[in-house]
């Protein structure tokens, strides 16, 4: 028995060493943190395949809520971020954590809900609609409910902004009754909950379109500046985190804003959904609220550590 055990142990050890060695010997790796909603659309998988091939590297995508994605950047655990929350992006750059903002794409959030629109908010703008949902939800929570991401994500941040615009303190909203439910999960899971409960929710367009086949929810409010969703890439600042792969991060961002990258983004989803899930930043900078210097142009920041 001893000999068998030793043999087995040796085989296992060799195999696991080989396995990790194989990982170590591979080419360069670029670590990217993004939001679950963006990752779930599958866009990054397509970009990864093209980018990996072109530059002979491996793009490692880690996703979570915007909250943790930004944290990964602040901790230097990733080399580049792709997120969609202007307020936090600006803070990230201001704090010296990121090199530059680069707007790469946009789409819209949808306020989705049950076909029969029980809160009767169709036709309003987003913030007004939320106020209406809260009003009706407080009266009849069985009929009118709102599912929030509740996870500090970009979508959640937008939701909170809309409440603010509607004139409400968020803490007054999220504890005001059973009509308001915090899912604490990604966009897909949240949509599933909303579908189950026939409730309203705020969703990015891409995730909604990807899940639409399985849902009975419909977009109640789409478009409008209140629901604009701008995707931004930022390289992590090597001055703060000297071991990030700054050069490769910049190459990646430049790929995203290149003609090839922008074409890829603009056409993604057409095959599957009939219409693209994203609009490229190219040519739409003003609409997106991005300066010309940060919109669809290559990076200019240097990677020098000092």
């Amino acid at each position: 028995m001893d000999r068998n055990f030793l043999k087995m142990a040796l085989v296992l050890m060799t195999l696991s060493v080989l396995c990790s060695a194989a990982g170590a010997v591979e080419g360069e790796r670029l670590k990217l943190a993004t939001t679950t909603s963006l990752q779930d659309t599958g866009l990054l998988d397509v970009i990864k395949d093209k980018f990996d091939e072109k530059y002979n590297v491996s793009l490692d995508v880690v996703s979570g809520g915007t909250g943790i994605a930004i944290q990964y950047g602040e901790r230097g655990d990733v080399d580049v971020l792709v997120v969609h929350d202007k307020e936090r992006e600006l803070k990230f750059i201001k704090d010296g954590q990121g090199l530059e903002r680069r707007c790469i794409a946009y789409n819209y959030f949808y306020l989705v809900g049950p076909k029969d629109d029980p809160a009767g908010v169709k036709g309003m703008n987003a913030s007004q609609a939320l106020a209406g949902i809260m009003e009706k939800g407080k009266i009849d929570p069985a009929k009118v409910m709102f599912i929030s991401r509740g996870d500090n994500s970009g979508t959640h941040a937008r939701e909170k902004l809309l409440w603010k615009k509607a004139g409400y303190n968020y803490s007054a909203v999220n504890s005001s009754g059973p009509w308001y439910i915090e899912a604490g999960q990604g966009m897909g899971a949240t949509l599933n909950i909303a579908n189950e409960k026939q409730a309203y929710t705020l969703s990015d367009m891409s995730t909604f379109m990807a899940y639409q086949g399985n849902l009975t929810l419909v977009p109640i409010i789409e478009g409008g500046s209140e629901l604009l969703n701008v995707y931004v890439a930022m390289a992590v600042n090597p001055k703060k985190h000297p071991n990030v792969n700054c050069e490769l991060a910049n190459e990646f961002i430049n790929y995203l804003v290149s003609a090839e990258g922008q074409d890829l983004i603009a056409s993604y989803g057409t095959e599957k959904f009939g219409k693209p899930l994203f609009s490229a930043a190219r040519g739409n900078c003003e609409l997106m609220g991005c300066n010309a210097t940060e919109c669809a142009v290559p990076t200019s920041a240097s990677c020098a550590a000092a």
Binding site: L12, C19, G23, V62, S63, R75, Q185, G186
Partner: protein
């Protein structure tokens, strides 16, 4: 409920077709968990031996603490290890985060309490007469420890198997430390979590069935080794 049935069919399809992604994920799951069980084993078994054989102040309290940690939430261990190996953390220089090595490290930590604790239990179960016999035949203290470990090898092996099983089926550490990166750190459990959250329940179920089946096969195989 029909997801379970269709999941079973889908699982058979995937296995028959030897779907490359599923094969890759499966092999990675097993190597990471086997490696972490092995790594934990070579540290925890001797450690268990030392704790069992030495008398020291606080020994009972230590063993209690170890047993409490048997069922540490995997997400908590994942978070603790994350803080440890994040670039901004004390072990940041090792570049372990978001890599299979980091996952092996994290899972080894996760299963260590089980391995140490059950090794102690296994060794305590060996009769004192064995120790006396070994001692009277001229064994040194270290030789006695090794002899007792050999006597308890079936129970110690069970401890290692249990550690392996826990590593294989956990999500918290794999997700937080590995990041579920496609083609690099994605394993069966994190895939199941992902596919479920994306609504692909049939695929999720299929992956789960594959996980259980291969786990069963490994356990049966290792039981034959223990059969003596």
């Amino acid at each position: 409920m029909e997801e379970i049935y269709s999941g079973l069919l889908r699982a058979l399809e995937l296995i028959a077709a030897r779907d490359p992604q599923v094969v890759e994920i499966t092999i990675r799951s097993f190597f990471i968990s086997l490696s972490s069980a092995f790594l934990a084993g070579i540290i925890c078994i001797p450690l268990g031996g030392i704790i069992e054989f030495r008398q020291f102040w606080g020994k009972r309290a230590l063993i209690n603490l170890i047993q409490t940690f048997y069922s540490l939430p995997t997400v908590t261990v994942g978070l603790l290890v994350f803080l440890l190996i994040s670039r901004s953390g004390p072990l940041g220089g090792l570049n372990l985060l978001f890599s299979p090595s980091g996952m092996i490290f994290g899972q080894a930590i996760l299963v260590s309490p089980i391995m140490i604790g059950l090794t102690i239990t296994a060794l305590a179960g060996v009769s004192t007469q064995i120790r006396d016999t070994a001692k009277s035949l001229g064994a040194t203290e270290m030789q006695i420890i090794i002899t007792v470990i050999k006597e308890a090898r079936v129970a110690v092996m069970a401890a290692v198997l249990l550690g392996f099983g826990r590593a294989l089926s956990e999500v918290g550490v794999a997700m937080m430390i590995g990041g579920n990166i496609r083609g690099y750190t994605r394993v069966l459990t994190t895939s199941i979590a992902l596919e479920t959250s994306m609504g692909n329940l049939e695929l999720s179920m299929a992956l789960g069935i594959i996980l259980i089946s291969i786990s069963l096969a490994i356990n049966l195989l290792l039981n034959r080794f223990q059969g003596r």
